[in-house]
Amino acid sequence: MNRAPRPAARLATYIALIVLVSIVLYPVMLVLKKAFEPGRAFALSASPLPHAVTLDHFRDLFGAKTGGGDFLFLRHLANSLVAALATTVVGVALSCTAAYALSRFRFPGRATGLQTFLVVQMFPATLLIMPLYVVLDKLHLLNSVLGLVLVYSTTAIPFCVWTLKGYFDTMPRELEEAARIDGASQWMIFRRIMLPLARPGIAVTALFSFMTAWNEFIMASTFMTDESKFTLPVLIQSSVGQFSADWGLFAAGAIVTSLPVMAAFYVLQRSIIGGLTAGAVKG
């Protein structure tokens, strides 16, 4: 490692890397191409460059209307936004105190509690899809954004508790001890000192749970069957459904929907990796 290898070996390494990068980029290029190329069919040639350029697909995406004359895409965007935002607010608001308690207090049942959060956080929500469907059906919450928020909260809450607990663990205890000596109550310490200091951790946790809800597909597609209640992932999947596939619409929708979360991912990647491995190491 301290000696540089021969030029031929270096060249081979660069070529191998470039080949891999092309394999990674190729599907992405195809989607970009399809979004701007006329026609509904997917790739009829292997070339990743469009033979003509048009904005029709974006126009179709934003311009589609319901029978009532509302803009469909705006509906779906609003459904997605409301579901993801509400899930994030519920998840973070409920989790902060619990995460702090699990990080700082010692009480009987703490180990069991942590274990439960870890397991629930790791296991897929699809295991609960059946009972959740039956419950939502009974409560008349199918095809309702509120129902979707409740469903998403089943994963968001344990995730937020686990991640925030990890963040509180990294914060020094000296401040709390000083405040305690000055006679502050436990609630004051939490509310006035720890919560403001934990803001960066809370922001990252909130963004993750937003991204998770924003990208969720199968629950939304099972529970939201009425077209006006679709979320963006359901819209995108249904645009290439079994009977009528419009890959141009799909590509335009995929780009519009995933660009914001991809940008967030690149900004937050360090924390994502840190959070994931921290959770896994302790399991």
């Binding site: 599907p27 995929a254 995933s258």
Partner: protein, 519 residues
């Protein structure tokens, strides 16, 4: 003295809360049962009354439905004359009348009576008329269930509290007798409603409270609650939310596994679903709906994917950590792109690329003078398409984890090894690998769980094709629920089994990790 009284009332309050919950649940069950019986009887009597030429009963809607005839304008369409009796005909009910008559004709039974499956608590009865081809159908109004007996509950609560307090004031053995009788008093309403299970449960609760009180466990519990009340307060919101959103559906899921679902009705079938699943169903071992086949596919799927993720990820990490390499940042940024894309979009892109004779993948094969492949018509190619997609989206995670671990290796180690004349392989084997292992272990565990449950790729790329043979456990459970005739009970049993398998694997995994740690 006040201490004893306080303690007595505290224990009574906690137990009474539980007892009231049990009694209320019993009341709801009994009341609903009564309502169902009354509604069924009302519908049946009203239908029979009209069938034998009398008036329809009040609070029911009755119609005479004629035999099925060809429509005059569209001979393929069938229609029936529906004549509603009484002054105000409700056209919304016509479909119910029509369907009931259709069912009488189809099933060749003279009559039937049942509750409507729409949750409104209405009953429907149909019977053939004594003379002529007309069918009589009666639908009841929405039921008005009896109100909750609030006064009765307050009364027994007061009586119970008095008994408990009186016992405490007399002292010692009488205090325990007071607890027992005070709580047992709450069983009275349940006894009145003939809810024997609830009554027994409340009496057992009374006995248990008395025993716990005697062993001073209630005191210990209460002081524990007081000591940790701050922690409890902080945890309460999440505890309630987790109970309602996770624990309740989870338990419902387990319970539903013991039921069979058919067109809106649930029948208790014991372990039948589990027996059907573990017995492999009707098909052979190569049948796509056989649990063991699906389990095999899932294990293979997880193993193959994790293998590719780790080897590709580690290889790339090793290359990217070369000190002479230029443009590391750019390569790294481009290579983690698949991780940034939402996985349902990735799955759909690859599905599109594999599709058709002229899809992108086949076009590339043609360009290389190879034959195109019909990806979703045979098991091995469909499975490979899934694996290719999942490898594409999964290797960046392992690469990034490995890169992170490689950064922590001190350069001096390699220098020292070179000085000692260690070969490249020896350096990898004795320096790199031991440093990678602690980070890769958890990553592999996490990656395995993700892959085991990678619903979106399987569901969207191959969709189980050809013929339901490329499903993994989670997608198969989904298909039982929503695509194979609403077999909800089967799906619930499936989910329970998947949970057990996953739990077993994670317990084994963490035990394995703990054993390795000291070494």
């Amino acid at each position: 003295m006040t201490g004893v009284l306080q303690r007595q009332l505290r224990d009574f309050a906690v137990a009474a809360l539980l007892a009231v919950a049990i009694a209320s649940a019993a009341f709801v069950v009994v009341r609903n049962g009564d309502v169902v019986d009354a509604q069924l009887e009302l519908a049946q009597r009203s239908a029979h009354a009209v069938a034998s030429g009398q008036e329809a009963l009040p609070t029911t809607h009755v119609a005479l439905v004629g035999p099925s005839q060809s429509s005059t304008r569209h001979p393929i369409l069938r229609h029936r004359d529906i004549r509603q009796l009484g002054e105000a005909a409700d056209r919304h009910l016509d479909k119910l009348f029509y369907d009931a008559a259709l069912r009488i004709d189809r099933e060749h039974k003279g009559a039937f009576v049942e509750m409507l499956h729409d949750g409104t608590g209405r009953a429907i009865a149909a019977t053939t008329r004594d003379h002529g081809p007309m069918i009589v159908v009666a639908v009841t109004d929405v039921a008005k269930p009896a109100p909750y007996p609030l006064l009765v509950m307050i009364g027994v609560l007061g009586l119970g509290a008095l008994l408990a307090a009186a016992g405490a004031l007399v002292g010692r053995a009488a205090a325990r007798a007071g607890t027992l009788t005070g709580i047992a008093t709450l069983a009275i309403p349940a006894l009145l409603w003939h809810a024997w299970i609830a009554a027994t449960a409340i009496i057992l609760l009374a006995a248990a409270t008395t025993i716990l009180q005697r062993a001073e466990l209630t005191d210990q519990f209460s002081s524990g609650m007081r000591r940790h009340r701050v922690a409890l307060g902080f945890l309460a919101p999440v505890a309630v939310a987790m109970f309602v959103l996770v624990a309740v559906p989870f338990v419902i899921g387990i319970v539903l596994g013991f039921y069979d679902h058919h067109q809106g009705t649930w029948t208790y079938v014991g372990l039948q679903n589990f027996r059907d699943i573990l017995g492999g169903g009707t098909g052979g071992l190569d049948d796509g709906t056989n649990f063991w086949f699906v389990l095999g596919v899932t294990v293979l799927w997880t193993g193959v994917n994790v293998f590719f993720h780790v080897t590709i990820g580690v290889a790339l990490a090793l290359v990217l950590s070369r000190s002479w390499l230029r443009g590391k940042g750019v390569f790294r940024m481009l290579l983690i792109l698949p991780w940034a894309i939402p996985n349902y979009i990735t799955a759909l892109i690859w599905k599109g690329m594999f599709q058709g004779e002229y899809g992108a993948v086949n076009s590339l094969l043609h360009a290389a003078h190879l034959d195109g492949v019909s990806w979703f018509t045979s098991w091995s190619t469909a499975f490979s398409a899934n694996v290719i997609t999942n490898t594409w989206l999964g290797f960046p995670f392992m690469m990034v984890v490995a890169l992170g671990a490689l950064e922590t290796i001190p350069k001096e180690l390699y220098e020292a090894a070179s000085v000692d004349g260690a070969s490249a392989w020896q350096r990898f084997r004795h320096i790199t690998l031991p440093h990678l292992r602690p980070a890769l272990g958890p990553a592999v565990a996490l990656g395995s769980i993700w892959t085991f449950n990678m619903f979106n790729v399987i569901f969207l790329v191959s969709g189980g094709k050809p013929g339901d043979t490329t499903n993994i456990l989670v997608t198969d459970a989904y298909r039982w629920a929503f695509e194979r005739g609403d077999k909800y009970g089967m799906a619930a049993a499936y989910a329970t089994l998947i949970f057990l398998i996953l739990r077993l694997l994670t317990i084994l995994g963490s035990r394995l990790a703990r054993e390795k740690e000291p070494a």
